[in-house]
Amino acid sequence: MSKVIVVTSGKGGVGKTTTTAALGSALAMHGKSVVVVDFDVGLRNLDLIMGAERRVVYDLINVTQNQAKLHQALIRDKRLENLWLLPASQTRDKDSLNEKGLGRLMKELKAQFDFIICDSPAGIERGAILAMRHADEAVIVTNPEVSSVRDSDRIIGLLDSKTEKAEKGGKVEKHLLITRYDQSRAGRGDMLKIDDVLEILLVPLLGVIPESEQVLRASNIGQPVTLANPMSAPARAYSDAARRLLGEAVAMNVPHERYNLISRIFGGRAA
């Protein structure tokens, strides 16, 4: 059974692309065949985060407009053989994505992969709607901060109305992923707590990714954080979230950095 998961948020800069790359590679490490699809036409970045920016030949638009075959556009990850990337177009604009072609493409992807993870553009316009259009499940990425929570609430409304599933009377299964969480600031009362965000948005929690310098370090070198430094706190948090997506019951806690000798020596150099 293949699953289409949209990673969405409304607000920009909260960690959608980081999350897509990290969850995609974590699921692939669990032996699933995974494709991560960049829907941010005109502002593609997933290729960069995955470290495949120099290998892009054809893209999502080429495939939906029948200018290239799917297999010509798919880029196989160099680290994980069952992880693939379908990049967005950098030169076209969001209107070049047509719904019919996209429907055809999604069908084709579903026949090939266990997980199709769609990295949504920010906003609530056409691009974001198309990214969620075919989703079975949604990962809503939210920072514990007022504007991000508000925008997530908007996106939740759209998931319940603008998706194919919703239009057919079904429901997209929603998961909340809180990113850039700082336990000590929340403890001091200077950041919304996890329970605050859950209480406001009323979406089940998939995981909590702690604020970490490792995320920027991983993006600098073009590696998903789960591969760049698998023992780091955000990598472990993403890996737990991926296991929950697979249906495993994993105790919910916020990982923190382990500063022992082994991570000092190998940390950041793994993978």
Binding site: E145, R150, R188, G189, L192
Partner: protein, 85 residues
């Protein structure tokens, strides 16, 4: 001494801000959900409660507060009314 005071003061005097954020979001989103036609359990319950009370007492819609609080084992819903004097 002065330096020490300056260093200590801000954190001690600054009140925590997260509860304000939480309160503001709860109020804002209950309005926005209504405006965008989103189904929202809290605002639906609020309307029903308001309608029931209004049959007996005249109160404005702002007088009804519905709040859900999540705890470890159970969640509670608190409905409170500001009654006119």
């Amino acid at each position: 001494m002065n330096l020490l005071k300056r260093w200590w003061k801000p954190r001690e005097l600054e009140p925590s801000t997260a509860p304000v954020a939480r309160e503001r979001l709860q109020v804002l989103l209950s309005h926005e959900r209504g405006a965008t036609g989103q189904s929202n359990l809290l605002s639906l319950i609020k309307e029903d409660v308001l309608a029931a009370i209004k049959r007996h007492i005249s109160i404005p819609s702002e007088a009804v507060h519905v709040k859900v609080e999540r705890r470890k084992a159970i969640s509670t819903m608190r409905i409170s009314l500001d009654l006119p004097k």
